[in-house]
Amino acid sequence: MAEQQIDQFTRRLDGKVRRAVRENSAAGTAKRAEILAADYGDPTPLRRLAGEIRQHAIENLDVHLAKAEDSLKRNGAEVHYAVTAGDACRVVSDILSRAGARKVVKSKSMVTEEIELNGHLEAEGIESVETDLGEYIVQIDGDHPSHIVKPIIHKSREDIARSFEREGLGDYDDDPETITRRARAWLRRKYFEADAAITGANFVTADSGRLVLVTNEGNSRFCLAATRLHIALVGIEKVVSGDADLAVLLNLLARSATGQQLTVYTEFIQGPAGSGRPSGPRETHVVFVDNRRTEVLASDCREILRCIRCGACLNVCPVYRQATGHAYRGVYPGPVGAVLTPLLAGKDFPAFADLPKASSLCGACNEVCPVDIPIPDLLLRLRNRAHAERLPSPGSPPMGPFAAMASRPWLWRMALRSGRVMDVGPVQKIPVPWMRAWLNTRTLPEWRGGKFRAWMRDRRKGGDET
């Protein structure tokens, strides 16, 4: 029987990894809830406000993006545009080659994961080093991040210690403190050797032309302190109207992502550092990347563009907690990924049309979302799209016959009565795949089709008599 890929992945997953991810995610959910309750009581009105701010931004993207471009240029930054992932990579390598840059340090950025920038730069002979601790470990392992804010949530300290030993960062030592110190020393060399820094941006303000970058480790700050050339890759949807919007968004982002009031380092970048400054970039390039965001904007799932990449929906999702990030086969795991990955896949939508089905539609993702994205509704819309495109759905019962029955009362009543064969027949042998899938781990209660109806009829008769 054909199995859904996510279910298959989950079945084969190492129990230790599953447990680690589940516990870490549950802890993240609890921390988020605790700080929001302490600071806002019920955070829902604030989440709704943030959702409106972001929805306004994306529904007026033409205006705000043009304004952001003007403001950034006024501040001394150079602005570029890239339609596709490939275009974005080429824009970056052109800037680097004009500057003669051969070594790059990178701060964590989801859009650079999306366009596979590191692979592109490597092919061009440019060394590109991830500086976020988790992303660095992902890079040396040739792995992929499995969580938006906790890229190595699937790795143990033993895994990391072995990787560090292999890469020559010291003898095997799995003490997290030692691991961190070794990365500090090693990456510090990389910062000072680098010719350029590549970052993403969490937000871009249209009115003031600021790139906003948040980190806890301080790696993006180090990138922008040690190098003289800064390239920021920014998804076009990251634009917000102004600085004032950030009060709501920053307060919710840190609390939702890591349970902090604010991230340790919140950086506002207008452009290159003044010429007399001893540190800071002399050039700032902002590359606005589409990579099918405009297709998402044109779709009935445009609300997903509100996303501020906090990872709260992953942490709370019961499916993510069982399946873990790599099950989602994309840069964005969990509920947000189940929406975004198929949308960003373009003509490859069919290859990812199973992701929106990997949800019990429990709605916990929407409940924790700092920008109130109706994720379950979007998952449903994508399921409808998959159906409209006649894509197969392994394991699901066909709904056409069901609807035919459920719109004909006489047929429905007949089915209710005939269902009783299940109580006498050998149900385990029923050759219907979805029935087998149910019965493998679950029993069915006794069939009592029509009993309630009969009771209602009897009462009515009884009622008539009295």
């Binding site: 996510i6 279910d7 298959q8 989950t10 079945r11 549950a26 829902t44 009935d300 019961p318 499916v319 069982q322 399946a323 089905k357 990997a358 949800s359 019990s360 539609l361 429990c362 709605g363 916990a364 929407n366 509704d377 449903l380 994508l382 399921r383 409808n384 799209r385 998959a386 159906h387 759905s393 392994p394 394991g395 699901s396 019962p397 709904m399 056409g400 069901f402 609807a403 035919a404 459920a406 719109s407 009362p409 209710l416 979805w434 899938a437 149910w438 493998n440 781990t441 679950r442 029993t443 069915l444 209660p445 006794e446 069939w447 009592r448 089709g449 309630f452 109806r453 009771w455 209602m456």
Partner: protein, 253 residues
């Protein structure tokens, strides 16, 4: 989740039994009827009712969903409140319908039904304003809130009703706000994930050692009860919220 702000709440109601109660859980449906009648309602059961359309909606087959919902709109036409002992069926009517009928010519017709839909506990507490419940049911219960009532008034309403029944002790359990793993066709499309989710829920529930696992949705109980039936840990007795209220009434004589 969009819940209509103005819904009719008179004491003459149309009862939507749900397909699960129609097929398996007649006890829960009977209990719901008796509970509504105790609250002073005249309960009308339109015989031609079938399903709310949710299975087709959730599996992405919206043409099939609309077919079923159009039938439901016909069966439940009029202006009486439609009450159902299931949060997810109620949510299908007042939230899902609006999505499934986006851009459809008869969206208004379906919207008219959506604007009268109530989940049972929500209707009793917030529609009728039931202040107290007679009788007694001495039991420790673990209450599982169905996910489709997340963020609606149904969860708090159910807890209020349980709190009204003398003898009922509601015991909390771990990760109470997590899903049971049913999710309709999800449970058969993703059996491994679904089963793991359900087992986690059962572990938490068993640790709280309740006499009954109670929910306002038979779908969650179908799943959890079905899982427990196959597990070495053994069966966990389940009751619909309406059955708890019904048992209290019976004790009252």
């Amino acid at each position: 989740m969009s819940v209509p702000s103005q819904r009719p709440a008179g004491r003459k109601v149309l009862f939507m039994a749900t397909c699960l109660c129609d097929a398996f859980f007649d006890n829960a449906a009977r209990a719901a009827v008796e509970v509504l009648e105790h609250a002073g309602c005249e309960v009308i059961f339109p015989e031609d009712q079938t399903c709310c359309g949710q299975p087709a909606f959730n599996s992405g087959n919206w043409p099939a969903c609309r077919k079923v919902m159009r039938h439901a709109a016909e069966v439940f036409n009029g202006d009486l409140p439609v009450v159902t002992p299931s949060g997810s069926c109620a949510a299908m009517l007042f939230h899902g319908a609006g999505i499934a009928f986006e851009g459809e010519p008869d969206r208004e017709v379906i919207g008219q039904l959506a604007g009268r839909a109530w989940e049972l506990a929500d209707f009793l507490v917030n529609g009728l304003g039931v202040p107290s419940w007679p009788g007694r049911f001495p039991a420790r219960v673990a209450f599982h809130q169905a996910c489709h009532t997340r963020g609606t008034a149904s969860g708090p309403a159910a807890l209020r009703l349980l709190g009204m029944v003398e003898g009922v002790e509601v015991t909390p359990f771990g990760e109470g706000d997590q899903c049971c793993g049913f999710g309709g066709t999800f449970s058969v499309g993703f059996p491994h994930v679904s089963t793991s989710m359900g087992q986690l829920k059962l572990d938490h529930v068993r640790k709280a050692t309740p006499d009954f696992l109670v929910s306002g949705d038979m779908s969650c109980l179908l799943h959890l009860g079905g899982l427990a039936g196959k597990e070495p840990g053994g069966a966990v007795p389940t009751l619909h919220l309406a059955e708890v209220l019904q048992k209290a009434l019976r004790d009252d004589g």
